[in-house]
């Protein structure tokens, strides 16, 4: 259980949440896209702007020295937040996307060659997918995909298979922005390093805001994350890397601040971190991010984790009681954090989120910048509620109540036209593999033929089946009607 008193106080720190939307309290459940900012962060940026602002570095006057000092201290603060002692290895960028592109254009351009392999999970956000896909196309390198299991966790057998190709690079997300799955970073790193020399990038966009971060313990070579998902303003992100790797990388953007000397025909680069921070950086953003680190540490990342687990557990329970709603991803709150994607009655996620929005419930809907994953699970998109320190059980209750109104508007249209035509490849709840959405009469687990969550209240067979989750890929006949299909091997396990 988490410290309810502490978190009741937290909500009051966020001025935006004091607003009402058409008389309703604002229910902000979109922090995985962008989090809100507490008074402490807003004030830190405002105070800096009011009293200390000037461009950093070479200004030989009081204000510039003050500004430079605050910017450097912000870097040290962020370094401490992720367990880094060598502060210059923390590079400020705009966001995770820029951090990963920086790597693709520097490390990637230097080290990836024709015929090389790059391993990455199919559940990656486009920001950790497209830069590598494009690099692979430029270099004639191969992408080696790591598949997911039906419950939304990473398939470690598939990882092993990818590793047999001796990839030079493994890049993966700490936490899935669709399923909320926490990938076992240390185990993945151990398996990858056991195969030989490999460079490992961790996309921490969803992980760092929620989980205590210590790059030494995680064992990765690079970590990318964004400030705006952890209580900071937009436009500030981080790339951390091991010093020996950063120093061997070519420069990325050229211009002011990043040089040590410029001649008419050549230039040389400054040391870390300047060499990767061309131009005037986001000074205010860095100061905001440092203040956000202070705020998060004042709550304690362990306490934040407990709060998230309690909220997640409550949300899963409540959503599972809503007829026609299905939570995607692992149900074990130890395996997930931050986000909760769900499916609701065959109603398109955009229709759901428009209707929820009218009730003051802010969620995100669609492919969540994970189109390959959506194709993999056979869904056009999901509706996603995501939580952070300022959310509480009442937010979940308002979400559930608003879903009731969605159901009312769409009464009688429980299945969309695509529903029968486009069965899903897997259902990601309880490990049951299910082709059809819960609202379809056809909905049954394809492995054990147990009825779906939809019918759980009627027949309590859901829990009596523990399908084998180790099979990496599910081959499904999407063309033959189920009634004409030969039952799969192992068929009915329960009575």
């Amino acid at each position: 259980m988490y410290n309810k008193q502490l978190f009741a106080h937290v909500r009051g720190d966020f001025p935006i949440l004091k607003q009402r939307f058409q008389g309703q309290p604002l229910t902000y459940l979109d922090s995985a896209a962008s989090s809100q900012q507490p008074e402490q962060v807003i004030e830190a940026v405002a105070e800096f702007t009011r009293t200390s602002y000037a461009n950093i570095h070479r200004g030989l006057y009081h204000l510039s020295e003050l500004s430079t000092d605050l910017y450097d201290r912000a870097r040290q603060r962020v370094a401490r937040f992720i367990g880094v002692e060598d502060a210059p290895t923390v590079i400020f960028t705009r966001n995770t996307t820029e951090s990963l592109n920086l790597l693709a254009y520097t490390w990637g351009e230097k080290y990836i060659e024709e015929g090389d392999s790059i391993a990455l999970p199919v559940l990656e956000h486009h920001s950790d997918l497209v830069p590598w896909q494009q690099l692979a196309l430029r270099k004639k390198a191969q992408l080696r995909w790591i598949e997911i299991r039906p419950d939304g966790t990473l398939d470690l057998d598939s990882l092993q298979e990818a590793l047999t190709h001796k990839p030079k690079l493994l890049t993966f997300t700490w936490v899935s922005n669709v399923f909320g799955t926490i990938n076992p970073v240390e185990e993945i790193v151990r398996l990858a390093r056991a195969q030989g020399p490999i460079t490992i990038i961790l996309d921490g966009a969803q992980g760092v805001p929620h989980l205590k971060t210590d790059v030494q313990r995680l064992g990765v070579d690079f970590l990318a994350f964004s400030g705006h998902k952890m209580l900071s303003p937009t436009g500030i992100g981080v790339l951390w890397g091991k010093r020996e790797l950063l120093e061997r990388m070519p420069a990325f953007l050229f211009g002011g601040s990043m040089i040590s000397s410029v001649k008419r025909d050549r230039s040389s680069w400054d040391v870390l971190p300047n060499r990767f921070e061309a131009g005037t950086p986001n000074i205010s953003g860095a100061i905001g991010l440092a203040a956000a680190c202070d705020y998060l540490d004042s709550l304690g990342m362990e306490e934040i984790r407990r709060h998230d687990q309690a909220l997640m557990s409550y949300a899963i329970e409540q959503l599972n009681n809503v007829p026609g709603a299905e939570v995607l991803g692992p149900l074990d709150v130890n395996q997930r954090c931050g986000v909760l994607s769900f499916y609701f009655k065959g109603i398109h996620p955009h229709d759901i989120s428009t209707l929820l929005g009218r009730e003051g419930v802010c969620v995100r809907a669609g492919h969540h910048c994970c189109q390959p994953l959506m194709r993999e699970i056979g869904m056009g998109g999901t509706t996603r509620a995501s939580f952070y320190v300022y959310n509480n059980e009442e937010d979940v209750d308002r979400l559930v109540a608003a879903l009731g109104k969605v159901a009312q508007v769409f009464k009688g249209v429980e299945c969309g036209p695509g529903c029968e035509l486009r069965p899903r490849k897997v259902l990601v709840q309880s490990g049951h593999r299910q082709l059809w959405p819960a609202c379809c009469p056809k909905s049954q687990c394809t492995t054990c033929l147990a009825p779906s969550a939809h019918n759980r209240a009627l027949s309590n067979t859901m829990d009596s089946c523990s399908p084998d989750l180790t099979t990496p890929t599910l081959n499904v006949d999407l063309t033959t009607p189920r009634s004409q299909q030969v039952p799969s091997e192992g068929g009915r396990k329960d009575a």
Binding site: H350, G380, Q408, V409, G412, V413, G416, P417, R422
Partner: protein
């Protein structure tokens, strides 16, 4: 088989009953066997997709079919549009599509009426409510924009 939306008692300004009816029972929701042209349309930001087939002969849209995946607004709009253009002369179809598009992109009813220039868009008026949801306008226009591209394609041949 899903019920029709006719037992939906809520009269919503966006999700009108006729929209939900077209969503649950889309018209012309199939591919054509020998189309004059087939055009694919997508909304990259939301992932909605539509494939539209036209059979154009003697300057008339003899047949139309579409399949797609998307929200109720995009699918219902495509269905209503398909139904409205079947059997109509190409010139009239183009006029209708343009009038519908102008109407959705206008700010209010007065401007909408002016933009439509006297073209009767029939059932498609039910989508007027979408104007109050700026991010959803592109959903309502997916089928329409795809149709306009398809008409250009058809006339090339």
């Amino acid at each position: 088989m899903p019920n029709t939306a006719s037992d939906n008692l809520i009269n919503d300004d966006l999700y009108r009953q006729i929209i939900l009816d077209h969503y649950s029972r889309p018209r012309c929701n199939h591919r054509l066997e020998h189309p004059t042209c087939s055009v694919e349309g997508t909304n990259p930001s939301c992932g909605d997709e539509i494939e539209l087939d036209l059979l154009v002969k003697d300057g008339v849209v003899q047949d139309v079919g579409f399949v797609g995946e998307g929200c109720s607004i995009s699918m219902a709009a495509a269905s209503m549009l398909a139904e409205a253009i079947k059997g109509q002369p190409v010139a009239k179809v183009r006029q209708l599509a343009q009038a519908f598009k102008a109407r959705l992109l206008s700010h209010d009813d007065a401007q909408a009426a002016q933009e439509a220039q006297g073209v009767d868009i029939g059932e498609l008026e039910a989508l007027d409510g979408v104007r109050d949801y700026p991010v959803r306008i592109k959903c309502a226009l997916l089928g329409c924009n795809t149709l306009l591209t398809a008409l250009d394609e058809a006339q090339k041949d």
